[in-house]
Amino acid sequence: MTEASSGMEATVARVVATPAALGAIEHLTADVGPIMFFQSGGCCDGSLPMCFHDGEFVIGSHDVRLGSVGSSPFFIDHRQFEAWKHTQLILDVGVGDPEGFSLAAGEGRHFITRSRVLTEQEQAALEGTGPGARG
């Protein structure tokens, strides 16, 4: 658990979380109950992960569940998934209040997504697992 918590143990995880993020998730869930993540795109706070009360954001039948971070599910839009799927998302915590409607990762902290380009072997292994869980 030095770097990753994964919902897809069989192969490399599409999303992992740093210890700081896992700690923030643990505190947040103890404080407000179950939470969820949705990777955003576009203007302004675009590539930030948005953190909501679980169920606050309605997951559509085409959204892709990338995996879990701690006990919380992590989703992405299916079109964005196609553009991002060659990278592993690394949930971390940054300084500053959250933007958008996202919950904070602790006082004056927000969640951020870092990325790592997957190796060809990792990408091939993930391709083998199918198109990613939907909805």
Binding site: G42, C43, C44, G46, S47, R79, P98
Partner: protein, 521 residues
């Protein structure tokens, strides 16, 4: 001494830099803290909490604004509902007079607001002086004119039956403003909402609540109480409270895609309309004939590429993907990189500075992350790529070098909005290849086409799936040119007469002038 007095008069230091807001001699007064603007009054937040407001130029707080809660949104909605009948019934002449007076007041305070906006957002004052604030002025004037030209339609269904169509206000609307153009985007939303006879509750972006409050100070006595209300605070609390309120008749939003979906979800729960503008990844396409001559047009085209650094790249329509025809790539990019290398960066209040500070530490972090992933993906850094080290008061500011990375369109730096001064450049072979790459994106907000061939420009403009295709220009935002997105870039069109439709109901009176019964019963 005489020089200093002269300098103080125009709010500048002897070096010709605007004095920072709140400092002695500045054009901009700063109070220690700011309350919400509700019902024409300054109202303290119910819970008595405030949050620090940081200038990106220094990275340090310079004032506080209300950290409001859902109760404060309710107070603003109370004020708006109390005002909506009178404002909705006001004559078109009265509404236009208010909008024109707002424009005049902003114009009379243009330099003060330009300095405030620059300090609040980090953007260079030369942009706020020449673009943000003058465009905001013009926007109010445009909708003052538009409201005077509003006409309902009538249709003679048959000789005794007439269908009359009237525009009616929606009532009270909610509007959520982004941080990249705090005043101009507020004008884009507030002007049409008021022109159509609505009252509004505005939530500024969390990092940029203050300049709008300075605007409110300027127009507080012009707009009737309750017609315009501003509540500051965290999006997760008051943004949600506003967007999900059953007391609004419409929600307007500019921001990222996930919050856009959430806004539409809340609107669905209340069965109200929404308009959302959600960003882009705009291609800027340069055909080889731009280099047929070394003339003013080529100079303009080079600037057209460098415009990715306008407002430090924090623009929904940032031309952040340059597509350059292969046959002239080396020659053209040499000229562009030379121009980029001469961009001056520093204190945004220095009128000679071309690029200021990113809006927040979060944005800076995100930009750094994208350059990192671009390098991981194999993109080549042609210029920049690092934080800009600045000294003195600016040492903790959020500065990033104008950056260009060469790669291919499948890379994430070509697919995601970085919202920073980072250009992703690639080549294309011919017209079909240019169209393919331009449209290979989730987004469709803006695009640019540069060619001396008018027929080619027209074909490209029609083939690109984007709401705005600048042709032989870029980053012009005149009122009267519709602005909005294709694909996941959003729903609705701003900056145009048609915005009045987004903020109006259609009332149809179907009237019979016949004495004859139908004969059914």
């Amino acid at each position: 001494m005489a020089v200093e007095e002269e300098a103080a008069k125009d709010g500048m230091t002897p070096e010709g830099i605007f004095v920072a807001p709140g400092q002695p001699g500045s054009l901009v007064a700063v109070k220690p803290r700011y309350d919400n603007f509700i019902g024409g009054h300054w109202v303290a937040p119910t819970k008595g909490q405030y949050m620090q407001n940081i200038s990106p130029a220094t990275g340090h707080p310079f004032t506080e604004v209300a950290r409001s809660s859902a109760e404060d949104v309710e107070l603003a909605l109370d004020a708006a509902h109390a005002a909506k009948d009178a404002w909705g019934e006001s004559s078109l002449a009265e509404r236009a007079a208010v909008l024109n007076a707002v424009a005049d007041a902003i114009e009379a305070n243009l330099t003060m607001l330009a300095v405030a906006e620059s300090w609040e957002n980090g953007k260079p004052v030369r942009e706020t002086l020449a673009a943000d604030i003058p465009l905001a002025v013009d926007h109010f004037r445009y909708f003052a004119g538009a409201t005077r030209s509003l006409e309902g339609r009538s249709t003679e269904i048959d000789k005794d039956t007439v269908a009359y169509h009237f525009h009616e206000p929606l009532g009270v609307v909610g509007q959520i403003i982004p941080f990249n153009f705090p005043l101009l985007m507020a004008a884009w939303k507030i002007a049409p909402a008021l022109a159509a006879g609505n009252c509004t509750v505005v939530k500024p972006a969390s990092p940029t609540p203050w300049s709008i409050l300075k605007l409110a100070e300027v127009i507080a006595d012009i707009v009737p109480p309750g017609v315009l209300n501003i509540v500051t605070g965290p999006g997760g609390e008051i943004g949600k409270a506003l967007a999900s309120s059953p007391r609004i008749a419409k929600i307007g939003f500019t921001g990222e895609t996930t919050t856009g979906r959430l806004i539409m979800q809340y609107a669905a729960e209340n069965l109200i309309p929404s308009t959302v503008e959600l960003g882009g990844k705009s291609p800027n396409i340069f055909f080889a004939d731009v280099m047929d001559h070394d003339d003013r047009y080529l100079d303009k085209a080079i600037e057209g590429l460098v415009l990715y650094a306008f407002n430090k790249g924090e623009v929904c329509t940032c031309p952040s993907r340059a597509l350059v025809q292969e046959s002239m790539y080396d020659r053209f990019m040499e000229r562009c990189l030379d121009r980029i290398g001469r961009i001056t960066q520093g204190n945004p209040l220095d009128p000679t500075v071309m690029i200021g500070a990113q809006n927040s530490a979060q944005q800076l972090e995100k930009i750094t992350g994208y350059v990192d992933i671009g390098v991981q993906e194999g993109a080549e850094v042609l210029i920049g790529g690092e934080r800009t080290p600045l000294a003195g008061d600016l040492v903790d500011g959020y500065y990033f070098e104008p950056t260009v990375m060469k790669g291919h369109n499948d890379m994430r730096i070509f697919q995601e909005e970085i919202f920073g001064p980072v250009l992703a450049v690639t080549t294309f072979t011919d017209e079909a290849d240019a169209i393919r790459i331009a449209n290979d994106t989730l987004y469709g907000l803006g695009a640019g086409v540069w060619t001396r061939n008018g027929n080619l420009a027209y074909r490209m403009g029609r083939a690109i799936k984007a709401g705005r295709v600048w042709t032989n220009c870029y980053h012009l935002y005149p009122a009267g040119a519709a602005f909005g997105g294709y694909k996941i870039s959003g729903v609705g069109r701003e900056n145009h007469l048609m915005m009045l439709d987004h903020y109006s109901q259609t009332k149809n009176l179907l009237v019979s002038y016949s004495d004859e019964p139908l004969g059914f019963f």
